[in-house]
């Protein structure tokens, strides 16, 4: 199909359909229906700085309004070998944002010839999110170890950020931060810190409807990165107590008629598939 405009096409966001969508939504609203919503991750994500590095934790539930869309999604995304990012908010926005960040960080560190800094990731994220004025609905916790030590930042959808020793974001943030406020101490050991993050995420899983399923942890130190998927599964599916199937013979058979169908082979043709 040919386009009769004389403008050269550009990339990026296209606002062509916004008016049409607004009209469609208004029409649906008149009839009493509502337009579908973007799938959110309705999350609890948390981060903590301990003696040797950073621990990031997240739950694994993705919700579509009131229905669980994904019972085991990955919310801790890779950005650089020693930098990981947890994403909350609209699932697609968080996913695409972190993937773009990962590519940009790789290109930047190839260009400078140095390993990336966590502050650089945060700066690029906040500049991009501010440019889109909060329409990209992703809140992120960026944590990692670089030449300046272990750092933890949280970035909000409108572009503001915080640098703190412990952070939580998402719908279960209030439950998780209460656990942190109670038991956080600076310079904790790794096992104690892992237990604390696990407890905070579990508090979010139990007290918030938007979070659930398992706890994922990511322990980043200067030497190693441990991505512990499914570190804890506080919510197990219940076991059925007995079998509820009907025994064969429960329904009595009254009559039985057998009609054999005789089929003859009329025509046989072979079609060879192009498998190369």
């Amino acid at each position: 199909m040919l386009n009769t405009s004389t403008k050269t096409p550009t990339g990026g966001f296209s606002f062509e359909n916004t008016r049409r969508n607004a009209v469609l939504e208004a029409n649906l609203l008149e009839k009493g229906y509502s337009a579908p919503n973007a799938r959110k991750t309705g999350t609890t994500i948390a981060g903590l700085i301990f003696k040797d590095g950073v621990i990031l934790g997240a739950d694994t539930r993705a919700t579509d309004d009131m229905v669980v869309a994904d019972k085991n999604c990955m919310k801790i995304h890779y950005i650089a070998p020693k930098i990981y990012c947890c994403g909350a908010g609209v699932a697609a926005d968080a996913e695409v944002t972190t993937q773009m960040m990962s590519s940009n960080v790789e290109l930047h560190s190839l260009s400078t010839g140095r390993p990336p800094l966590v502050a650089m990731v945060t700066r690029q994220l906040k500049q991009m999110l501010f440019r889109y004025q909060g329409h990209i609905g992703s809140s992120l916790i960026v944590g990692g170890v670089d030449v300046n030590g272990a750092q933890l930042y949280s970035v909000y959808p409108h572009g503001s950020y915080d640098k703190l020793p412990f952070l939580t974001m998402g719908s279960g943030a209030a439950s998780a931060i209460s656990v942190f406020e109670d038991r956080y101490k600076p310079n904790m050991e790794v096992e104690e810190a892992k237990q604390l993050v696990r407890d905070a995420i579990t508090a979010g899983i139990f007290c918030d409807l938007g979070s659930g399923s398992n706890v994922d942890l990511c322990v980043i130190t200067e030497k190693t990165v441990d991505y512990l998927r499914g570190y804890d599964q506080p919510v197990q599916k219940g076991l059925r107590e007995g079998t509820y199937r009907y025994k064969p013979g429960t329904t009595a058979v009254l009559t039985k008629t057998v009609t054999p169908l005789t089929l003859d082979v009329v025509d046989e043709s072979v079609q060879v598939m192009d498998t190369e």
Partner: protein
């Protein structure tokens, strides 16, 4: 939402020709090529981000050139803008997608990835402009 309001955005930036009435060669709405006109469609943007995204690159450049002028003097932005103009002229035929490699390198966009590289890549667009119309428009014959 930007608290400076829509009017200041319209006033300070380079005029957005996409939103103005699509005047044809005689200064009136060209119904054959651009369809029916609607006051609402032409005066107001359909999305809060539409104007700011259209003008984003221009505003960035303006800001950077102003800073450069304040630091190094007038010659610096003049020389750079001359290079930009030269690079902007390196294009394929009007209806074919151009890579704009020289322009991207000058801007520093050759080692960053943004939404303009991922979404709506013109190279992968399903629609193509009519070659005759686009060439005529480029040559000023239309």
């Amino acid at each position: 939402m930007n608290t400076r309001g829509l009017r200041s955005q319209l006033k300070d930036s380079v005029p957005v020709t996409g939103l103005c009435p699509q005047a044809g060669p005689y200064g009136v709405q060209d119904s054959l090529r651009r369809g029916f006109s609607s006051v609402k469609n032409e005066l107001l943007p359909s999305h809060p981000l539409e104007l700011s995204e259209k003008n984003f690159q221009l505003n960035q450049d303006k800001m950077n050139f102003n800073t450069l002028r304040n630091i190094q003097g007038l010659h610096a932005p003049l020389k750079l803008q001359m290079e930009y103009r030269a690079a902007r002229q390196i294009q394929r035929l009007p209806f074919l997608p151009s890579s704009n490699l020289a322009l991207d390198t000058l801007r520093g966009a050759d080692d960053t990835i943004g939404f303009e590289d991922i979404l709506n890549d013109p190279i992968q667009s399903e629609m193509m402009g009519d070659p005759h119309i686009m060439t005529e428009y480029k040559l000023g014959v239309l």
